[in-house]
Chain length 242, copies 2
């Protein structure tokens, strides 16, 4: 199954969301991570201009395509797995997993059919009846001092983890063409030139050159000098030597 | 260095943020992950009631303690490392790393002193002068179709990754006391009882019992039956046999 196909089988279900702004922000969060299927169970206010405003570029697709249901049972109908976010509620059917592991499990389950990621109301979470329907649980690690994540933020974190679980992101895209690495001889010549210039200016004691040059070697090694850079440095040294 | 001490050495710097709501949401995001040091470079509107509203429980500490600066140079003064978030800008001093790796590197750098995580304006990002000052870059992996993360959402994702890099979260907290696992003999007795009941009700052909019981064994293995559950199932079977 292609990574994007797996992500498209995941329903993000917001149950009884109070704030339409959170709905819009959640839609945007989903779109940035390649998810598309937004389900709203008995939202307090929807459609709503605040949802559109917060959805930004996701307003005409993810938000517009949101499915509104009366109950969680409706929203989960047709799924083969459902994971809900918990804030350390007791008496869940199964032990919660951290968000990263839960996301990986949900993506794996999406190989077999539609799956759901469920979030409860901003203040009250999921009702007891809803809790009873959820078979798997995810927990986002937070500070002990303050655990209250905004609903859309929790959606963003889980969608981010779902994407990373589904897609091999590879190496980050390069932002520059990259210079040509300086050759070994070019760097050695620079080091000799630097030593010569430092002795010539009386900065370096010719009887004790080694320690300073060793420190310079460390710097040059870490810097991964490029040809052009070596040329610039040697040009500067030559000008200082005059 | 303790994990929380490392997180407290990280300055979250928002440069020229346009929307005070994002400032508040960023403060909340920071607090959920144990970060405390918010720096604002030339914010468009601050203080602002929208920032307080979005900060929720972070309004009286993280938000109230925010340091306002005129320039990025001021905000970075005293740091030994600064990583900025990029949206695929070209011509950066170094190649960007994915958020997870960049967070790990920044936490490691926090061992040596104060460090900064820099975010630019919601629409325009960082100015050229600001880009020139940042030595390391982070990129959040997103869908190719839509890359535009809300500023506070980007802050949330990075703070989440910083926390995971700094703190050993261990196993998720258990939510139930856990039942006692059924013993091997108890499960075998259940399987025999089930077979007997299924034969007695003519569901199972006594000449060919094996395939069905194998499927039941798979189910029971996966379920990790507990003593109490075995008792309930055997009681039900007994009632069916009458």
């Amino acid at each position: 199954m292609s990574p994007s196909a797996a992500l498209e089988r995941i329903r993000v279900v917001l149950s009884h969301p109070s704030h339409p702004g959170n709905i819009g922000a959640a839609a945007r969060a989903m779109k940035t991570m390649g998810l598309k299927r937004l389900y709203l169970v008995n939202p307090k206010s929807f459609p709503d201009p605040q949802a559109v405003a917060m959805a930004t570029g996701a307003d005409d697709d993810v938000l517009a395509a949101a499915t509104v249901c009366s109950t969680l049972t409706e929203a989960l109908s047709g799924t083969v797995a459902a994971t809900a976010l918990t804030g350390r509620r007791r008496e869940l059917a199964t032990e919660p997993a951290w968000a990263r592991e839960a996301a990986a499990e949900l993506v794996a389950a999406a190989g077999a059919g539609e799956v759901a990621l469920v979030f409860g109301n901003e203040k009250t979470g999921l009702s007891n009846e809803e809790v009873a329907q959820c078979r798997h649980w995810a927990l986002i690690p937070t500070s002990d001092q303050y655990r209250s994540l905004n609903l859309a933020q929790a959606v963003q974190i889980l969608c981010y983890e779902l994407r990373l679980a589904a897609v091999d992101v590879g190496a980050p895209p390069k932002v520059s063409d990259g210079g040509t690495p300086a050759s070994h001889e070019e760097v050695e010549a620079l080091i000799r030139h630097l030593e010569r210039a430092a002795v010539g200016s009386a900065f370096l004691d010719p009887a004790q050159p080694k320690r300073l040059m060793l420190r310079m070697r460390r710097l040059f090694a870490r810097a991964r000098l490029e040809k052009e850079e070596v040329n610039i440095l040697r040009g500067m040294l030559s000008s200082f030597e005059k």
